[in-house]
Amino acid sequence: MPMPISYQALIEADIDALQAVGEAWLQVSKDLEEHLATLDDYRTGDLKADNWDGDSAEAGRTRIKEFAADLDERAAQARRVAAAVEDACSGFRTSQNGMTMLAGMIDKEQASLSADGTVVPNTAKGTAAVDYASGMQSQVNAHLEDATAADEALKAAVALYAETLSTAEEAVLDQLAAEEVGALQDLIDDGASPEEVNEWWNSLSGEEQIAMLENHPELLGGLDGVPTDTRDYANRELLEAELDRFSPTLDADIVALQAEIDQFNDGAKFLNSSYDAMTDELERLEAERDRRDGLNSLQDAIREQAATGQDFYLLGYDSAGDGKAIVSVGNPDTADNTAVYVPGTGADLSGASGGLLDRAETMALDAGDIPGSGETAVVMWLGYDAPDNPALDSPRMSYAEDASAPLSSFMSGLESTNADPDGTNTTVVGHSYGTTVIGQSASEHGLATDNIVAVASPGMVVENASELGIDPDNFYATVAPGDMINPVAETGALGPDPTDGGVNFDIGAGTFVDWHGFGGNTFTSDNMEGNAKEIHSNYWDEGNPARENLALIFTGNGDQAS
């Protein structure tokens, strides 16, 4: 049972002191990160392989890396506690201010407020005074309940993040989670919308939320409508747990099995029945190793802060198949601008922790340069199975069709968790086949976004920007001269070229058709003097004007894009 906060305690609470505690936690986090950076500098500098070689050196570097990972986890914990304290301070201040205002408003002819928070009616004034006191008492109680909820949430958050839960407290959280998980499972089974999920989440007390996060991260990590910081925590826990499940002898097992297989000469391969089984097993182990390495790369990529100084948020991941990942640079729930980047053909888990995430980081950095624009969060959304082969897979619509509902749901989820959805400028930007996904999703399910940007699009399924569910004036497209996508877009196989205002080739009819243009705006990109294939990928490269234009659009200055 929560310990209720009394009227006197709320009125007299020194919230500034608590605020200072939160700031101290934040400072601890920053200090740890500084030490982390120093260690990393040693590992990749003075202690790098060029300077220190051999088994001891390798073991030393590995130990430092492990230690750094531990340090990073501690820094993240301290940061989370600081955020929880900040939230609690905000809640306490609201309740304290509300209570103070209420005390000043009480009509002393009708009732009086006693030192323990009881509103005592002036019975000489009859039943009207009793009713009045009852109404005021309800308001007093509401403020006390809010303060108590903030206190319980803080207590649970500190216990969870700082790992100070006692066995008894864990049992309480287990019980709370057991009571709530059924409701969540029902929501998921019924296909609840992100808004409904968000309503459910907000209906939980802080303690219940912590209980669910602690006990069921697998249900929350990828669930649209759950706040970003909660999803991030859940997914990082899941990622860590999945990595722990890989056999510690995996690499050695592969080497040993390969050595056994190498013993077979050509004749023995056919005669020995175990040969095929061994090669199959080797293939399985190698696939497992690749999966582990991909997840390790993802974990490494989001460990430290981005070049912008923003945190990374892991909003979802899946190691099956080519892998999927949704990573945000900055928190879209609190940012002033949010851009969601949908990559195209060839995108996989390896890219999600490499080049694709680099692009998101670059876009966030560029947008941050626009004065007065506030913070821009950029989400790299690889929440779909992207085509692997540009010639064989990319002409097919099935990938976009499969991605259509998840992208729409994700955008609705962001809208529902946003602290100020009306005040946030939101953009969905696709590259290559990612634009086809966006077109399909926008036209089939709708996208909760203000702007849509198509970079090097092969076609967006729709005939006109007006079919994307946004004001066509908020649609932007670009393609660089010489991009290999240009002839593909001209076929019209995936819809008309969104940068083209003129003639398109109708592949079905086998003829050129005249049409009235896609609508919206176009902006300049440079081919950076690359070949057709390179041009298709270098929109985020050094000095490409596409970067300036994307930053302008993301921050609500699309009229300055050119």
Partner: protein, 197 residues
């Protein structure tokens, strides 16, 4: 940056030093230079395995946002200064109202410098495209009086001037390390540029 990538005369070890050097050369002749507020680094993958692109960005102080000096005059200065020191200007962009948006030039060693006006906020980027990802990237102290807390050098290891001296053995620059000397005061030109530009 075609697939027949031209061999740059340096690798990852030197990339950040070269970029800082190019920015130092760029600002050396900007009158009443206000100094920098922040330094940041970026990394981008290249299509070709084993190569990476890097970028350093310096932002000018908030007080300069929208000033005629940095959003107009410096463009004109750089149009003369860059060619004078052997840089080739290859891009010039304007806003719809005709005001300068960006100017870019390439140095003979392949370092690209990008003077960018983001709605009044000036950012000077230097970039190297697709260097061989060999070695450990180091960077010297930031230019233009950037305070340590505003120096976000995520992708390179900061070396002190003494260490930079030793790095000279693998990263020889003409006339030593003068280009890497941080500006002590905003607006002060590095003495080491005298006679070199």
């Amino acid at each position: 940056m075609s697939s027949d990538l031209p061999e740059l005369e340096f690798n990852l070890d030197e990339a950040f030093l070269r970029m800082d050097e190019a920015i130092g050369e760029t600002i050396a002749r900007l009158p009443d230079f206000p100094g920098f507020y922040e330094r940041r680094t970026l990394q981008l993958k290249c299509a070709e395995e084993g190569r990476e692109s890097y970028e350093i960005s310096y932002t000018l102080p908030e007080a300069t946002i929208g000033s005629e000096l940095v959003t107009m005059d410096y463009f004109e200065v750089l149009k003369e200064h860059w060619p004078a020191i052997g840089y080739e200007i290859h891009a010039e962009r304007k806003y719809p109202d005709g005001n300068p948006k960006a100017l870019e030039a390439t140095r003979s060693d392949g370092v690209n410098v990008w003077y960018s006006n983001m709605l009044g906020q000036i950012v000077i980027h230097a970039q190297v495209a697709c260097v061989r990802a060999e070695g450990s990237p180091v960077c010297g102290p930031p230019l233009g009086g950037v305070l340590p807390e505003n120096d976000n050098h995520k992708h390179c290891q900061l070396v002190t001037p003494e260490e930079t001296e030793s790095a000279d053995a693998i990263a020889p620059f003409k006339d030593g390390q003068a280009m890497l000397r941080p500006f002590e005061q905003p607006g002060r030109e590095p003495e080491g540029f005298d006679g070199q530009l």
